[in-house]
Symmetry: C2
């Protein structure tokens, strides 16, 4: 029996099949090869991913008329307008056409950048997301969000550009650095808290094996988290004020922490973990069960997060105010009401955030 599962995301532009599990790249190999056959194939990836897993793309490269590998730097550093511009110029010089194909082969940043570059090249070419990190497999690769950063705000420039295909091969996770696994597990836990109580229990019960990237422990957790993401995205594909917003649990402060830290020192998932801890403090003030909040904080304390970098509270607050999810009325906070259930709360005064922020930055794991 194959350990590869197939999900389907329906969205306004069509539907995206999602292959997930150990060996997914092999199982989806023929489909991928057919999709690129006799076309120019652009591969956006990093040197590390290429060195570790480049062989998995051999069937694609053989089917394509020609393959142009576009290597970019790791992580958020690649998500700039300048890098996107460089890739577009190279794609044009290499003879890229409207029916050329682009594959984003890497973590969340490669997926964001690759998706954006595909979405705007000649007004949009087809893209496949081949996520190689836990975070990208359960979250970033699903749902069509693409973006690059501006100095003042993460993901400030981008568009919705749904992939034609997502292939998350969990066997690639074995080579993932421990901090990348931890970062992805934060997004997994997020999915559990907002949409799947059983997933929270699974993370709690197997956290040490998960952190060690144990494939048996990871497989069910990746599948459950991705399935939750698919459900939330399908209900609100372009985040028009519905369920998709719930995925921003932990992200309002998380993004601001990343911005204030200059996108250095904290991985995305680590920032989201701290963001969830802060959101739990706001939630407790609105009636969220104290014991449950303590249980989640205890679970997050077992993640072994790096300490928060030294941050100036006012700079974090300014970044919160600039959050791109904010409406003209101000930022919206996603706060849990119960396990597996959350809501968007617009009525969080800036003064309340300011009051809670400094003590939080000093002692994030303390009872809020």
């Amino acid at each position: 029996m194959s350990s590869v599962h197939r999900l389907l995301l329906r969205h306004p532009r069509g539907e995206t099949p999602i292959f997930l599990g150990a060996g997914a790249l092999r199982v989806a190999g023929e489909l991928l090869a057919d999709w690129v056959r006799d076309r120019t194939l652009f591969v956006v990836t990093t040197p590390r991913v290429l060195a570790l897993h480049g062989g998995a793309l051999a069937p694609c490269r053989e089917a394509a008329a020609c393959t142009v590998v576009l290597e970019v730097e790791e992580g958020e550093a690649a998500k700039t307008l300048e890098r996107a511009g460089e890739l577009w110029r190279r794609m044009l010089a290499a003879g890229g056409r409207r029916d050329s194909r682009l594959v984003a082969f890497g973590g969340g940043s490669v997926g964001d950048l690759g998706g954006f570059v595909a979405g705007c090249f000649l007004r949009g070419i087809a893209v496949a997301q081949l996520p190689t990190t836990l975070l990208a497999q359960v979250d970033a690769s699903i749902g069509g969000k693409t973006a690059v950063d501006l100095p003042a705000a993460k993901n400030a420039v981008g568009l919705f550009h749904h992939p034609e295909l997502v292939v998350g091969d969990t066997s690639l996770l074995a080579t993932l650095p421990a901090e990348e696994v931890r970062s992805g597990l934060a997004e997994v836990l997020k999915m559990g808290v907002i949409a799947d109580p059983a997933l929270v229990g699974k993370v709690e019960a197997t956290l040490e094996r998960l952190l060690a990237a144990d494939p048996q422990a990871l497989a069910p957790v990746v599948l459950a988290a991705a399935a939750a993401k698919v459900r939330l995205v399908a209900a609100d594909p372009e985040e028009r004020g519905g369920d998709r917003r719930l995925l921003n649990f932990g992200h309002t402060l998380g993004h601001a922490l990343e911005t204030a830290a200059g996108y250095r020192g904290l991985r995305h998932g680590e920032a989201v973990a701290y963001g969830m801890l802060f959101a739990l403090r706001l939630a407790r003030r609105r009636g969220f069960d104290a014991a449950l909040a303590a249980r989640l904080a205890a679970l997050l304390s077992r993640f072994g997060l790096p300490p928060l970098p030294p941050l100036v509270a006012d700079e974090v607050l300014a970044a919160v105010a600039r959050d791109k999810k904010a409406s003209e009325a101000g930022p919206v906070w996603i706060l849990p009401r119960a396990l597996g259930e959350a809501g968007a709360v617009a009525e969080v005064a800036a003064a309340e955030v300011a009051e809670l922020l400094a003590p939080f930055l000093a002692a994030p794991f303390a009872a809020g």
Copy 2:
């Protein structure tokens, strides 16, 4: 009786009302004001348009919470990734949000750039197109195409981002330079040749008055051309191989001429006029009526086009090969079969284009 007409473009993302005619900005003024009410309003425009017609935006500015005017250079020069990046940074610094509004107030380049900037800011904010040139009113503002240029190819980076509203006030055309009127009339004639034989007759009968921007002569011609564009776009909203492609009549060579000339010396419509002349030569070889081709060439000779700049045929050919409408199989040519009827022809050998191009560049109005 109002001389303002209302068209409606249905597309996959909703529908776009289009107000056209003398006084359209006044007629649509309340709708526009409601649309920006209490929000941040970004106005992408040029110093010239602002000086001549800025007053027409007063009701919008009064309704908006605040208005940020983003002035850009005239024409194709504004359509760069660098300019887009600068606007995004300024919008972010000015407190732009997902529910902020952007108005593109100017010609086709302002519309292309403004639409692109709106389409990618925070993954897309709503835009209204307020075209001030003939070309933009009949063509560029309708249909959701947005783009910036790369040095190697025009419109190489962009997306489909349909405006919420288009308001083409033909009374603004009175201040248009003669060469801008001529450029727009080339797109009008294009629409007639591919989709509306009566429009060709109207242009033929009133060309001198049209070139002089006579409002009585322009009104019916603007309306007919815009209506033809709406019909073709509605039938194939994102140019997926259907009728919308016909709008590229004259554009395969036209874009290449612009590119080879470094976007200088030829306005877009003027380049399209030459592109149509060349396409007519290809069409004649495929059975298009010789007398009709001669009639259209004679009509175009009355436009008073500037002479073609000195161009190297090989550079023009290379630009044709890079055309973003091309598939991996090569560029597609739109060729008329009869008046008001055209088709996409993929089987034009590069050798045939090469053979015809040098004599065409030397004597574009000669019988092909």
